[in-house]
C-alpha cells in the first residue's frame, strides 16, 4: 500500500494491482461516512472489463484461505449466520461514483481498540498506531502483499 495512506485516516487511496491470472483489482481505503472508521473497498475485473463474480473474487490470492471459513456465500455477500452485518457486501463507494465490494466496518472500532490496548500505544502517535492496527486487522483476512 502507498505510504501516503498512513498519514491521514481521511484519505481515500487507490492502488491498482495486477494479480496473477490476468485480473485488475482496484483497492481503496475510505472513511465510512456512517461508521467513521476506515473501510476497505475493492473491485475486480478481468481485462475485458467484465467484473468477476463474488465466487471468483473469493478465490483470488487476495484473500487468505481461511478468511471466510464457515460463512455463507451468495452472489452478493459473505455472511456469518450469527452476525447482524455481512462480512463482505456491495455498495456505493463513498466518494467515487462506483459500485464496489467492501468489508463491513461496523466491528472495526472495537477490534482496533483491543489491539491498541494490548500494544500500550503511545498517545502522541495514536493516529498512526490506529491505522497500523487497522491494517493488522485487515491482513487477517487479506494478503496485501500481492
Amino acid at each position: 500500500m502507498e505510504e501516503s495512506s498512513l498519514e491521514s485516516v481521511d484519505n481515500a487511496s487507490a492502488a491498482a494491482t495486477t494479480l496473477a491470472g490476468g485480473v485488475l483489482c482496484h483497492q481503496y481505503v475510505v472513511l465510512s461516512p456512517t461508521f467513521k472508521v476506515p473501510t476497505f473497498y475493492f473491485s475486480v475485473h478481468d481485462f475485458s472489463g467484465a467484473p468477476l463474480t463474488l465466487t471468483e473474487v473469493l478465490q483470488l490470492p487476495l484473500f487468505r484461505r481461511d478468511a471466510f471459513e464457515g460463512a455463507q456465500v451468495t452472489t452478493f455477500s459473505v455472511q456469518q449466520s450469527s452476525a447482524s452485518f455481512p462480512l463482505l457486501s456491495f455498495g456505493d463507494h463513498p466518494a467515487l461514483n462506483v459500485h464496489c465490494w467492501y468489508l463491513h466496518p461496523c466491528g472495526t472500532s472495537a477490534a482496533v481498540e483491543e489491539i491498541l490496548d494490548a500494544a500500550d500505544a503511545d498517545e502522541e502517535q495514536r493516529h498512526l498506531r490506529w491505522l497500523e492496527a487497522w491494517f493488522t486487522l485487515l491482513s487477517s483476512l487479506l494478503d496485501l502483499r500481492g
Binding site: P33, T34, F35, S43, H45, S48, G49, A50, P51, L54, T74, T75, F76, S77, S84, F85, P86, S89, F90, G91, D92, P94, A95, N97, V98, H99, C100, W101, C106
Partner: protein, 354 residues
C-alpha cells in the same frame, strides 16, 4: 417560496405534529409513485416480435426497487412481445437497466431516489424537457415526465456493473441501509438487531408486496416519531414547540420522548448533487442553541454557496425529497420521522434553478 434566509424570530411549530399527521405523511410517502417508461433494447428483440409494443409504462412505487418490477416486466414480455420460444429463453439474471443517456442505473437505489436524482441531473442541462421554471408564486415548478429506461436482456459488457440486479441483492442493500440509519440515529444497531428474524423478513415483504401496514408493523419499532407514545391531550403549539427543543427532563411525558425523533444523535440524511457526489454528514435534530435543526440550516451549512443565508440573495437551487420541493423551515427531525424513504434515509436531492 420564501427566500432561504434564516429567520431567528419565529419557527413555525412543525413539532406539534399529531400522530394523525405523522401517519398521514408516512402514508403519502409510501403511496408516492413515479412514471417509468421501460423499453427493451431493440437489438435484443427477436425478429418476429411486435415492434410497436416494446415499451412498458408503469407508475412505480417510490419505495420499491427495479428488480422487484422484473416479474411484472417478464409477464409483459411473455404475453405481449415474445413468442413462446423466445420467452422460454428469458433469463432474469442476465437483465440490466440503462438510462436513456447511456448511464448505468443504480438498481440498488429506491426507485423514488433514482427518479429524483434524474430530475436534478436534468435541472443542470439547459435545454432539457424537465427544466425547472420559477412559477408565478416564485415556487419552482416541476414537470413530471416519465423516466425513460432501457431494459437489456443480455449480459452487460461494461465494467461498471459489479453485480446484476436481483431481488435478493436488493433486500440486502435495503437491510444494510436500515441498519446504517439505525446506527446514525443512536450510535448502535440494537433496535435493528433486536428484531426477530420473522420481523426482519417481514419488513422486506412489506416492500415486495407494497403493503403499508406490513412494513410499518415492523418499522414503527425502529423509526422514531415526533409524537410521544401517549399524549392525553394536545398542548398548545407554542409550548409543545419548546418542549421538543428542551433536552429530556424527568417529566414522565418527556421520558417517552427519549426514543423520539428529536433525541437522535443525528438524522439519517444524504444530500445528492446533480451528477455529483453524495454528501453524508451529521444532522443533529436540535442545534446548540436548543432550536430545532431546519433544512435551511442544514443546507446552508453544507452548501453555503447554493443556499446562502442572506435574505436578499436570489434562489439558486431547490431541495427535493420524495418528489416534493421542501419548505426551508422544515425540521430535520420531522423529515426523519415522516418523509424518510423506506430504507430509513432522508434523501435530499439538490437541483439548480434556471
Amino acid at each position: 417560496m420564501s427566500a432561504y434566509g434564516t429567520s431567528r424570530h419565529h419557527h413555525p411549530p412543525a413539532s406539534f405534529a399529531t400522530s394523525a399527521s405523522v401517519a398521514l405523511f408516512r402514508r403519502l410517502a409510501w403511496e408516492g409513485t413515479v412514471p417509468l417508461e421501460i423499453r427493451v433494447d431493440p437489438k435484443e428483440l427477436p425478429a418476429n416480435s411486435d415492434r410497436g409494443l416494446e415499451c412498458y409504462y408503469i407508475q412505480a412505487p417510490r419505495v420499491s426497487y427495479l428488480p422487484l418490477l422484473m416479474p411484472e416486466l417478464r409477464r409483459f414480455l411473455m404475453d405481449v412481445v415474445f413468442d413462446d420460444a423466445a420467452a422460454r429463453l428469458l433469463k432474469e439474471e442476465d437483465w440490466w437497466f440503462e438510462s436513456e443517456d447511456g448511464a448505468l442505473l443504480k438498481w440498488h437505489w429506491p426507485i423514488g431516489l433514482i427518479y429524483d436524482n434524474h430530475t436534478i441531473s436534468a435541472s443542470v442541462r439547459p435545454s432539457s424537457v424537465a427544466s425547472i421554471g420559477v412559477g408565478a408564486g416564485a415556487a419552482p415548478e416541476l414537470q413530471i415526465t416519465p423516466l425513460k429506461l432501457i431494459l437489456h436482456l443480455a449480459s452487460p459488457p461494461t465494467e461498471k456493473l459489479l453485480l446484476p440486479p436481483s431481488a435478493e441483492a436488493c433486500k440486502q442493500a435495503f437491510m444494510g441501509q436500515l441498519k446504517e440509519a439505525d446506527f446514525i440515529r443512536w450510535g448502535n444497531t440494537k433496535r435493528m438487531t433486536g428484531l426477530r428474524k420473522a420481523e426482519q423478513d417481514g419488513i422486506w415483504e412489506g416492500i415486495r408486496e407494497h403493503n403499508f401496514d406490513d412494513y410499518w408493523r415492523v418499522a414503527s419499532k425502529i423509526v422514531p416519531t415526533t409524537v410521544p407514545a401517549t399524549r392525553p391531550s394536545s398542548p398548545p403549539p407554542s409550548s409543545s414547540a419548546s418542549a421538543h427543543g428542551r433536552p429530556p427532563s424527568n417529566d414522565p411525558q418527556n421520558a417517552q420522548d427519549r426514543d423520539g425523533a428529536y433525541n437522535v444523535r443525528s438524522v439519517p440524511v444524504r444530500l445528492y448533487l446533480p451528477d455529483g457526489p453524495v454528501i453524508q454528514d451529521l444532522a443533529p435534530p436540535v442545534l446548540e442553541d436548543g432550536t430545532p435543526n431546519t433544512l435551511t440550516h442544514y443546507l446552508s451549512t453544507h452548501l453555503p454557496l447554493l443556499f446562502p443565508l442572506q435574505v436578499s440573495a436570489p434562489d439558486l437551487a431547490f431541495p427535493l425529497t420524495q418528489g416534493v420541493i421542501l419548505p426551508p423551515e422544515t425540521e430535520m427531525a420531522w423529515l426523519g420521522a415522516c418523509l424518510a424513504g423506506a430504507d430509513g434515509w432522508v434523501n435530499v436531492c439538490v437541483g439548480l434553478l434556471q
